[in-house]
């Protein structure tokens, strides 16, 4: 990259980047704390992660102005690991996640993104929204009436405050108002302090205190793999969204490598694995952020706020965070997909819904994505496996001409072979392959079978209209071409 381009990515929009970075930092704090609580770790783990992810990705990321931090998608994947094995294993997992992502980036994972159908991506965001909402339920259902009221007040402020001004993030205003309210009225609700501590200290470098052996690897690898895939998926989706919003392009593989590096650093500084965030990145761009500086400012200002305001952060009532998370959940869900459910092809809707169901039942986004991709691959195969054989009788020569239309491969050969009747006494048969393509050995074997059957009935056969690839495959795979009278190409 040329120096001027990099210079522009950093300092092309200083005023806008400074302002938007501050806005994002303010909006990040409640989310980082809430995602820590989802993961079952101290709020500091999410806050350190958000600081370190943002700062590192600002430098090594591929998409300027995109915000990476602790996220819900990642937090949800680490719950079991944290519960069963504890924090040190989470740090190790974060580092391994980073190593895997770095590897994927080096191998050029971005080009495989196009194999993920949009219905799977829609299912991904929808199930993420549902999981984030479900994670809030224990924090507000059946605790007490005050909790319900505070959640309601928080949501009301979040959605109504933007009518007054959009300069300050509404969730932050809601949190501030509700915190003050609860402190002065001595409300009977839980606060962040009940769930963990806030350390007013910078993160420090530490090597996870775990045995470095095969057993440890077996514990952390499955989670790290899931984290690395989900992290890249959300990050590259976010990058595409930021590309579109800013009418600029970005390097997806560089972003994948950057996510890897950021997670490695985060793991060594006591943070949980993170990735890019759609919501925060949209806030950043809307607030005028365009360059790398905005992401850096967001990270640094977040840390500064924690160092200064740490004592107050513990006073934030849990129901206020629940309110913010409900907003995040509503914002994450793709409502458009409900409206188009009836308009898009049935198979797309099925893939989307199955993806959601798979995620919600397993609580694992990567499993849902995997099942979704598998299902849409099966649908695709089913769709293109329709093969049609039309019969024409040549009036002059009385030859039978079978015109085959469609793709000939393992999934379509049964229909293909069943399309022929061998009864009529036919002297000469022409199989016309002009409108088809032969893809695999199953197809060649099926043609073999048809040809032999006709020969048994005493007919001679011509294969016509094979395209170059199909013919090459036929020649390679038919050991005894005695079956064919002649293979011609007209």
């Amino acid at each position: 990259m040329t120096e001027t381009k990099l210079n522009k990515q950093w300092f092309g929009n200083i005023r806008g980047d400074l302002l938007s970075g501050i806005v994002v930092a303010l909006a990040l704090i409640p989310e980082a704390i809430a995602f820590s609580i989802i993961a079952g770790v101290d709020p500091m783990v999410g806050l350190y992660a958000s600081f370190s992810m943002a700062v590192v990705i600002a430098i090594v990321g591929g998409r300027p102005a995109m915000i990476s931090a602790a996220t819900g998608a990642m937090a949800l994947l680490m719950v079991t690991l944290v519960k069963d094995h504890g924090l040190e294993y989470l740090f190790a997992t974060t580092i391994l996640t980073g190593i895997l992502q770095l590897l994927f980036g080096v191998l050029g994972i971005a080009r495989f993104m196009k194999f993920i159908p949009r219905s799977v991506m829609v299912g991904f965001v929808n199930s993420l929204a549902i999981l984030i909402f479900m994670a809030q339920v224990p924090h507000f259902i059946g605790i007490n009436t005050t909790t319900y009221i505070v959640v309601g007040v928080t949501l009301a402020i979040i959605y109504l405050f933007p009518l007054i001004t959009k300069a300050v993030p509404a969730p932050l205003v809601a949190i501030l108002a509700v915190t003050i309210l609860s402190v002065f009225l001595h409300l009977d609700i839980r606060s962040v302090g009940d769930l963990g501590q806030i350390k007013q200290a910078l993160p420090s470098f530490l090597v996870p205190n775990i045995p470095l052996n095969w057993e440890t690897f077996q514990i952390i690898f499955p989670t790290a793999l899931a984290l690395s895939i989900v992290g890249l998926l959300e990050s590259l989706l976010t990058a595409t969204i930021v590309d579109d919003m800013t009418d600029t392009d970005s390097s997806k593989n560089k972003e994948a490598r950057g996510q890897g590096i950021a997670n490695i650093v985060t793991g060594f500084f006591g943070g949980m694995a993170g990735c890019a965030m759609i919501g925060q990145s949209v806030i950043n761009v809307k607030s005028g952020g365009r360059g790398r500086l905005s992401t850096l400012v967001a990270g640094i200002f977040l840390m500064f706020l924690i160092l200064v305001l740490g004592d107050w952060v513990v006073m934030i009532p849990m129901p206020a965070l629940v309110g913010v998370m409900v907003m995040v959940s509503i914002g994450t869900f793709d409502w458009h997909s409900l409206r188009t459910l009836k308009r898009v092809p049935v198979s797309d809707s099925v893939v989307m819904i199955v993806t959601v169901i798979a995620v919600v039942t397993t609580h694992n986004l990567s499993i849902g994505v995997f099942i979704g991709i598998l299902l849409s691959a099966i649908f695709f195969v089913a769709k293109i496996s329709k093969v049609k054989v039309e019969t024409h009788t040549d009036t002059e020569t009385e030859n039978m001409r079978y015109v085959i239309t469609g793709q000939l491969f393992f999934a379509s050969v049964t229909d293909f072979t069943n399309s022929f009747t061998y009864e009529a006494a036919q002297e000469h048969v022409i199989l016309d392959f002009t409108n088809t393509h032969i893809w695999d050995d199953s197809a060649v074997a099926a043609i073999d079978k048809v040809v032999l059957k006709f020969k048994e009935k005493g007919a001679s056969i011509t294969l016509a209209g094979l395209n170059k690839d199909s013919e090459a495959l036929m020649n390679r795979l038919t050991a005894s071409d005695s079956a064919y009278v002649n293979v011609s190409n007209h």
């Binding site: 949009r118 829609v122 989706l237 969204i241 949209v282 809307k286 793709d334 409502w335 458009h336």
Partner: protein, 139 residues
């Protein structure tokens, strides 16, 4: 008297009506340029990206919304430009009108999103309030 007319296009029928008014005005005087501006709302970007397979297809989907406007301008043989910009509708329309020193802004009285208009007030209302040039709201 209007040499440069900015007309706000969101794809709705109201905005098409606005475009027709722009065309009629432009026909009155040769050398009038009509600029149709379509503001892509930031809030809709996520959904747009999710529901398209790649940026090229997304671009085509968006161009599709422009089609009947483009046809109408072509048929009337007025000189025109169609512009797509990301941002918030009202401020972006105003910014564009200011930057290109437009003589007139034409905008439909209602747009695509009735719910948002109840809560936030209409885009046309906000544009009318803050515009620095004459504005025509088409009913």
């Amino acid at each position: 008297m209007y040499k440069k007319i900015v007309v706000a296009i969101d794809g709705s029928n109201h905005s098409f009506l606005a475009a027709e008014h722009a065309i009629e005005l432009a026909k009155l005087q040769t050398g009038t340029l009509v600029e149709g501006i379509h503001v892509l709302d930031y809030e809709k970007t996520k959904s747009d990206v999710l529901h398209s397979s790649d940026p090229i297809q997304l671009q085509m989907q968006r161009e599709e919304k422009f089609k009947r406007f483009r046809d109408a301008f072509e048929k009337a043989a007025v000189s025109y430009k169609l512009i797509m910009k990301h941002g918030e509708p009202a401020p972006m329309i105003l910014e564009h009108a200011r930057d290109t020193s437009a003589d007139l802004i034409i905008i439909g009285s209602r747009g695509l999103n009735p719910l948002q208009e109840i809560v936030m007030g209409s885009v046309s209302g906000r544009v009318a309030k803050r515009a620095k040039c004459p504005i025509m709201i088409v009913k």
